[in-house]
């Protein structure tokens, strides 16, 4: 088998060819217009745009569409490629949502490891005071890269959960637009390559990229802007696809309030992604234009009389947070959905207050649009805005509380068992509780004026993101692993992973918050020993390594169990959900016959009830 028969390899070749062609084109254009040949901003931007297109052409993510423009029909191909080993379909364009879901999930996991390693690098530097091996510039680059790589990993991980599960859970053949689905996955790959290349040049503003700082630094910024713009495009296309799929392709009898609860969470998430992502795309595009074309959107420029004829730095913060606050709910809503999905199975009991849980996701999503200014209490905007954003932010606590109490109601009176997925679900609740409860103290503006930009905030958002995404993601991986591979993971290793990671994380969160209240600022390469936070910082670093180690155990477990794990059977968890009523691993065409919904999704303990009926041989 030739290496170039892998789409990924062809895509990477296309990327670098495109890069060279694009850079050359910009140079030639510049010369033609009588400018100097080299301007690194313009040349790189031109090159990178062309590189991303080159990747997509190389991998073949647009082949069918291009053929359509020439009137050639392209029927959907099913199954692994005919002339190559079956595994190769994961490394090229494939339209099956289960393949795409795995591609998303594995890429997400890969990025989680990469982003995590960046953190370990700078955590080692922070373990004691004094600069030891990372110079401040490198420190800032690692810190900034950690954030965006980790955020990309979350977005891809969510894509994995959504793409793999939504069609299965609603008994659909595939997503509404399979080609768009593949395209939305594949544009992430050149974006990630671009993001990683930015490291060679460096950039130092943190993920928030506030101007004027982000207008000044090295050309690495341009790569970040373009990469995030492209990943954002993926979010928009992917969420569009999911919304259409859920609204149009549900089976007979599945009203919205009879969808599996995870679908509600994904629906709310997708609404946010579809409507808010343009804001960060726009904001980063404006930064890019300001750098390469000198359009003054954000940086003040003064004329001879001292009048500002340039831009306004705070405007950027509004645009940025108008996406980035709702985005934090993108990160957590699917995970909260996983929690709500798994608890009834392991409690053998209906989900408490299904409608309230479903609607609380929507409520969080909607209120989430009105609170962005809580990231700007100290920014210097009009003082009355602090009051407005304080109140709207506090309101988010209400639907969040509904979720917690409903989870407790689900546990109460159940017959609880504790295999690894359940442990991670409970761990997620405990960690998200720490994160959620540290939110209102940041929302009341007075306390935030102290806590803003300290390690307290670092503790807050790591706890929300781990509790709302990482723990539930791991729970989901362990839970659906037997459905995906047909085999069981190793339970002992799973429990070991849990018992290392969970206490490790509690310790890390609390230590970060302690450091913050003691006056430790965030995003600093070194700190004053007089602050007295050295021991606390050491604890954070140790806990970080424990967490990282435990994740390696999981990855080992996932790889080895795929071959030596015991056969799991179709429904090891005795779930009522549709995907567990079909064989494991799921066949190419998931459902041989259309399904119909005949009951409530979570009626565990109601004798004789069932959620779905598979169409019998005679009645289709």
């Amino acid at each position: 088998m030739r290496l170039t028969s892998l789409g990924l390899v062809r895509g990477l070749i296309g990327y670098f060819v495109g890069l060279a062609v694009g850079m050359a084109a910009v140079v030639i254009l510049r010369l033609a217009f009588g400018m100097s040949a080299w301007d690194q901003e313009a040349v790189w931007v031109g090159g990178l745009i062309s590189a991303i297109i080159g990747f997509l052409l190389g991998v073949g993510a647009m082949s069918d569409w291009l053929k359509w423009t020439r009137g050639i029909e392209t029927p959907l191909h099913h199954g692994p490629p005919a002339d190559k080993p079956a595994w190769t379909r994961y490394f090229g364009v494939d339209y099956n949502h289960k393949v795409i879901g795995i591609q998303y999930g594995v890429t997400g996991l890969f990025l989680l490891v990469v982003g995590g390693s960046f953190a370990l690098v700078f955590r080692t530097e922070l373990a004691d005071s004094g600069i030891s091996f990372l110079q401040a510039g490198t420190y800032n680059t690692f810190l900034s890269m950690h954030a965006w790589v980790a955020l990309a990993s979350i977005l891809l991980g969510i894509g994995g959960i959504a793409n793999y599960l939504v069609p299965l859970m609603i008994g659909a053949e595939d997503m509404a637009f399979p080609r768009l689905n593949a395209f939305a996955y594949w544009i992430n790959v050149p974006a990630i390559v671009t993001l990683l290349i930015s490291m060679l040049f460096g950039w130092d503003s943190g993920w928030t990229a506030y101007p004027p700082l982000s207008l000044l630094g090295p050309v690495g910024y341009q790569m970040v802007f373009l990469a995030i713009f492209t990943i954002g495009l993926s979010s928009i296309l992917g969420s569009l696809n999911l919304i259409v799929t859920m609204l149009m392709m549900r089976p007979k009898g599945m009203t919205l309030f009879r969808m599996p609860i995870l679908c509600w969470a994904i629906l709310a998430t997708s609404i946010i992604q579809l409507t808010a992502t343009q804001l960060i795309g726009q904001a980063f595009l404006m930064l890019s234009f300001e750098r390469s074309l000198g359009m003054p959107f954000f940086k003040p420029i003064y004329d001879a009389a001292g009048v500002n004829i340039g831009g306004q730095p705070i405007l950027f913060q509004h645009l940025f947070w108008f996406y980035s606050h709702p985005a934090v709910y993108v990160f957590v809503l699917p995970g909260l959905g996983v929690i709500s999905e798994l608890l009834p199975v392991f409690a053998r009991k209906p989900l408490f207050g299904y409608r309230w849980v479903a609607l609380s996701s929507l409520a969080i999503a909607l209120v989430g649009f009105l609170v962005w200014g809580h990231h700007m209490f100290t920014s210097g905007y009009q003082p009355y805005l602090r009051v407005v954003f304080m109140i709207s932010t506090l309101l988010v606590a209400v639907p969040t509380g509904v979720k917690f109490f409903s989870w407790l109601g689900t546990l109460w009176g159940g017959r609880l068992t504790f295999p690894t997925p359940m442990l991670f679900t409970l761990g997620a609740i405990s960690v998200f509780l720490i994160g959620g409860l540290s939110g209102p103290i940041l929302a009341t503006a007075a306390t935030d004026l102290f806590l803003h930009d300290t390690y307290f905030v670092v503790g807050h958002f790591h706890a929300t993101i781990f509790g709302g995404f990482v723990f539930p993601f791991f729970a989901a991986i362990y839970y659906w692993y037997p459905k995906i591979t047909g085999r069981m993971y190793n339970e002992t290793l799973g429990k070991l992973h849990f018992w290392l990671m969970t206490p490790g994380f509690w310790l890390m969160s609390l230590a970060q918050m302690t450091a913050g209240t003691m006056g430790m600022r965030r995003r600093i390469a070194d700190y004053d020993p007089a602050l007295g936070v050295e021991n606390v910082q050491l604890l954070v670093t140790i806990a970080g390594f424990v967490i990282a180690f435990s994740i390696l155990i999981m990855i080992y477990n996932l790889f080895t169990s795929a071959e030596i794990g015991v056969l799991a059977g179709n429904n090891p968890w005795r779930s009522r959900s549709p995907e567990w009523q079909i064989p494991s691993p799921v066949p190419e065409h998931s459902y041989a016959k259309p399904i119909a919904v005949v009951g409530e999704p979570y009626d565990y303990g109601l004798a004789g009830s069932s959620y779905i009926a598979m169409a019998g041989a005679g009645d289709d």
Binding site: G137, F404, G413, R415, F450
Partner: protein, 249 residues
């Protein structure tokens, strides 16, 4: 050994859990106050911040205990016993409960909004008996007083309301003295300000709290809060030094 009922609706469960939540709240509250020693204490504006922070801690202690005690209790009491293959009790929800745990938090939100506005006013207002301008630039600070005195350290008299005006020469920075409480960004193109009435004599560190590039971590300056007489003396000394400097030029 206490014998626990297995039915989910038994009153006994709720009595035990209630007692444990009370104990949990108290223990956790003191624990959190110990491990979250908020540093804001050396100015009038720090007072409401500190007070509200500690109020939050008690609310957090209560809510955390509420959820965790219920959860741990359920895990213990409602775990599946050996050879028990039955399903859980079938109840799908309870609208009254849902309404209660929507409305009670809503009331808390209203209360905290009210308190939030009051404390915000306290943390951001004050007089301007002393005025000083702080300029931030990559990666240092410069201070100047209305009488023309410029200095690399900031000196303020204790217990006198000060108005600190803030300007940046390049990128966004943030003015923060942890002991004083609030911080405020310096934004190029505009002037922002901060009211501080220092209540403790001593040396403090001003640190930039907004990532501003390479040496952000070391963008600090010395702040000295001194008795008023000492402040006047320092000011005269500075004025005299500056005058001789200008004269000799």
């Amino acid at each position: 050994m206490l014998k626990l009922p297995q039915s989910y609706a038994d009153r006994k469960h709720f009595l035990i859990v209630g007692a444990l939540v009370v104990i949990g709240t108290i223990v956790l509250g003191f624990f959190l106050l110990a491990i979250l020693p908020i540093k804001a204490q050396a100015s009038v504006q720090a007072e409401p911040i500190r007070w509200l922070f500690q109020l939050h801690i008690w609310l957090i202690a209560f809510l955390f205990s509420l959820v965790v005690v219920f959860m741990l209790y359920a895990l213990l009491v409602f775990r599946r016993r050996k050879h028990d293959d039955s399903e859980g009790e079938h109840f799908e929800g309870n609208t009254a409960l849902e309404v209660i745990w929507t409305v009670v938090p809503l009331v808390l939100v209203v209360i905290f909004s009210f308190i939030g506005v009051q404390t915000l006013r306290g943390a951001t207002s004050g007089g301007d008996e002393v005025q000083v301008k702080a300029e931030g630039f990559q990666w240092s600070w410069a201070f100047s007083y209305p009488n023309g005195v410029t200095s690399a350290e900031m000196v303020l008299p204790v217990n006198k309301p000060a108005l600190i005006t803030l300007q940046s020469r390049d990128v966004i920075h943030s003015f923060w003295v942890a002991e004083w409480g609030p911080k405020q960004d310096l934004v190029p193109g505009m002037t922002t300000s901060l009211h501080i009435t220092p209540t403790e004599i001593g040396e403090f560190q001003l640190a930039c709290a907004e990532l501003c590039g390479l040496s952000h971590w070391s963008m600090t300056a010395k702040i000295r809060v001194v008795p008023e007489a000492e402040y006047t003396a320092w000011m005269e000394e500075m004025l005299a030094a500056q005058n001789t400097q200008t004269a000799s030029r």
